[in-house]
Symmetry: C2
């Protein structure tokens, strides 16, 4: 893992939580991103400034994916989305984080990825019951 | 897992390999997508018509991720990309598949995701030594 003091001090995911923290342990955290088009858009963020999945130990990789899948499962339970999108990109912020995005066929970009041009001027955003979602998530972790 | 005869017969990833197959076992396959902007863009595709990661058994999920990470590791070994992008979206083709995309800071969309508007008219695409990549990949699987 190549981590320099400079990269850490300028990294948004080192300096801030990156959203409303729903759950955390000593390895990673689950946050709500706060995207108005996607109010249930979550991120799973490793605390350490690590770049790629294959920079983690195998056991850490699997632990991180278990958290990602717990978020997916809890989101499916509360929202029953048409599809779940999972992505680890990090081109702008090369600090390992997973996007977990419940998608609906009437949301702003569907069926395109949320990073593409919008498919419609405004999409229908689901209402997330945060309390229930957090309970379901924590029960899986 | 909800699989109907209709969804299977109309699904591109049920009817075709979805690219040049580099490796396969009885559960999944690794293909080269053949994108001219991203010649090393790979997909890991589950053979079964499954929708979400959490529709798989936990052991299958971890097996699939091990293949995804083997592709990432082999791509890093041959190309040393600036970043690797991993994504399971499936809004258009809801048949479980992972995109594994080595990214370079002079490629067509960097630092945006490849699904966003291009950042430049034409990007620099890396030359992939397929023989060496396949050897490195198979050695990890």
């Amino acid at each position: 893992v190549s981590t320099t003091a400079a990269s850490v001090s300028s990294c948004d995911l080192c300096r801030t939580d990156g959203g409303e923290v729903l759950w955390r342990d000593d390895f990673c955290r689950v946050v709500l991103v706060g995207d108005p088009d996607y109010p249930a858009f979550c991120r799973v963020i490793v605390h350490a400034h690590v770049r790629e999945m294959t920079d983690l130990e195998a056991a850490e990789r699997m632990r991180l994916m278990q958290v990602v899948f717990a978020v997916e499962a809890a989101l499916r339970q509360v929202l029953a989305p048409d599809k779940v999108n999972l992505a680890s990109l990090g081109n702008v912020v090369p600090h390992l984080h997973w996007h977990v995005i419940p998608r609906f066929d009437n949301d702003r970009h569907f069926p395109a990825p949320i990073w593409a041009a919008p498919a419609r001027a405004s999409g229908v955003a689901p209402t997330l019951d945060r309390t229930r979602f957090r309970e379901l998530l924590v029960a899986r972790l």
